[in-house]
Amino acid sequence: MIDASIRNQFPILHQEVNGHPLVYLDSAASSQKPLAVIEAIEEYYKHNHSNVHRGVHTLGTQATDAYEGARERVRAFINATVAEEIIFTRGTTTALNLVASSYGDANVGEGDEIVLTPMEHHANLIPWQQLAKRKGATLRYVELTPDGRVTLEAVEAVLSDRTKIVAMSHVSNVLGTINPIQEIAKLAHEKGAVMVVDAAQSAPHRKLDVQALDCDFLAFSGHKMLGPTGIGVLYGKKALLKQMEPVEFGGEMIDYVDLHESTWKDIPYRFEAGTPIIAGAVGLAAAIDFLEDLGLENVEAHERALASYAIEQMKTIEGIEIYGPEERVGLVTFNLGDVHAHDLATVLDMQGIAVRAGHHCAQPLMRLLKQSSTARASFYLYNTKEEVDRFIEGLRQTKEYFNYEF
């Protein structure tokens, strides 16, 4: 059980927006940060900061310990075998681009196929599009069920002996669908393809186990899981990472440099050119501590309960259309009659309620839903039932406002 006192840990939530107490329902875009994370970063800068892996002085060692300690923390969080499998990146986007540029360029050739779904975030779509263009490869899309799920049969239907990569979100940021990654990874492996998982929307909410999922690569962002912006993770199986070429070059990633030739450090450093995101990693480690202290199963249960309650209440409002399957994580994407999602979001904002409106970086999915725009309310561990009530009341007010005006 997570009770409302957890909100005391999140200073940003205690403010008024447009004269009303803030109701923040946009955590799927970016979560708010607890004091523990803010303070861990402050502590680091006040006492331990320096560059890492350089110099022999004491602060250098402290900073290196903090950074490498965070890597170990992430390893344990996703149950990777060894810390070398954890590469710090700027976020999910950078991590997926790294896989597409490095692994993709080396392993995908003309006529090969990359399997995706139409529910992918642009971050897990465009890097593959670009790779396919560079190499003359083809993108194959898994057909979704009408309620927005991926079935194993549909995946099998697009897999072939030419499939080199299967890239899929673990959880959809629009539909809230949870994809059966473990089973899909098995199918991908049977065809000799690698499984790439966009875990941006699952890492904040559920226990990840990369060994159980048996995925080859997995990416997520710190800022969606209570951590700071500018830090993310790429997990890759050691055997694969070891074969891969770096995509960025410079300091920190080299072994030996000559005027005309250089050699690279071992993994993970080979993929972390330049001064790394040290404070970001420290903040992410603190976020993971916070989540694990609460228990991810409790976090997920809390959000799901809020989403179910919200959906039940929303269904009592005439004109509400909800997208996505019955079985879903703690987010709800919807439209309210002919009120455009932007207009809806503006009227809710006037009541202090923050929701997302737009295409959610998933334009192909919007076309499939035949919507140019939708609104999304996403719930996190600090949201409460009272806030859901405010949201529902906000929807009613919005409807009334536009009915009156129209």
Binding site: H342, T346, V347, M350, Q351, G358, S372, S373, Q397, Y401
Partner: protein, 144 residues
């Protein structure tokens, strides 16, 4: 709950243009400009017929929120019959207005478009209001 601020944004005349758009449609032999607002998915197609430096006709199609579609409707209404220079001047005035800056109310009878001045209080919505005017600027530029 009172929505005084909102009433500044969603004035009756705006909702009227949204519900009953003027100049919605296509011009067979016009200049065509397609513009998207990539942050939100609004998309607009503006078509212009310009002869001897005069905007003879302007029509639009597209998808978007009330603000972007009402703005397109009002824009096509006011620029019709204006010279290209005047249309560009209007685009400038409109841009000043929605950013909450002082704007010229003397040169033209701004008519309905002034109803959109309330947008300046909603920074997240300024781009919605200016989309059609951006398309206009691009269109007359191509025509020139």
């Amino acid at each position: 709950m009172s929505f005084n601020n909102l009433d500044m944004l969603y004035r009756q005349v705006i909702m009227d243009h949204y519900k009953n758009p003027r100049n919605r449609g296509v011009i067979e032999d016009g200049v065509t400009v397609d513009l998207n607002n990539p942050t939100c998915g609004d998309s607009l197609r503006l078509q212009l017929q310009v002869e001897d430096g005069i905007v003879k006709d302007a029509k639009f199609e597209g998808e978007g929120c009330s603000i972007s579609l009402a703005s397109a409707s009002m824009m096509t209404q006011i620029v019709k019959g204006k010279s290209v220079d005047e249309a560009l001047q209007l685009a400038d005035i409109f841009s000043q207005m929605v950013q909450g800056k002082d704007y010229d109310t003397e040169t033209f009878d701004l008519g309905d478009i002034e109803a959109l001045s309330g947008v300046s209080k909603f920074p997240a919505r300024i781009k919605c209001a200016t989309l059609a005017w951006k398309a206009l600027e691009k269109g007359v530029d191509e025509e020139a």
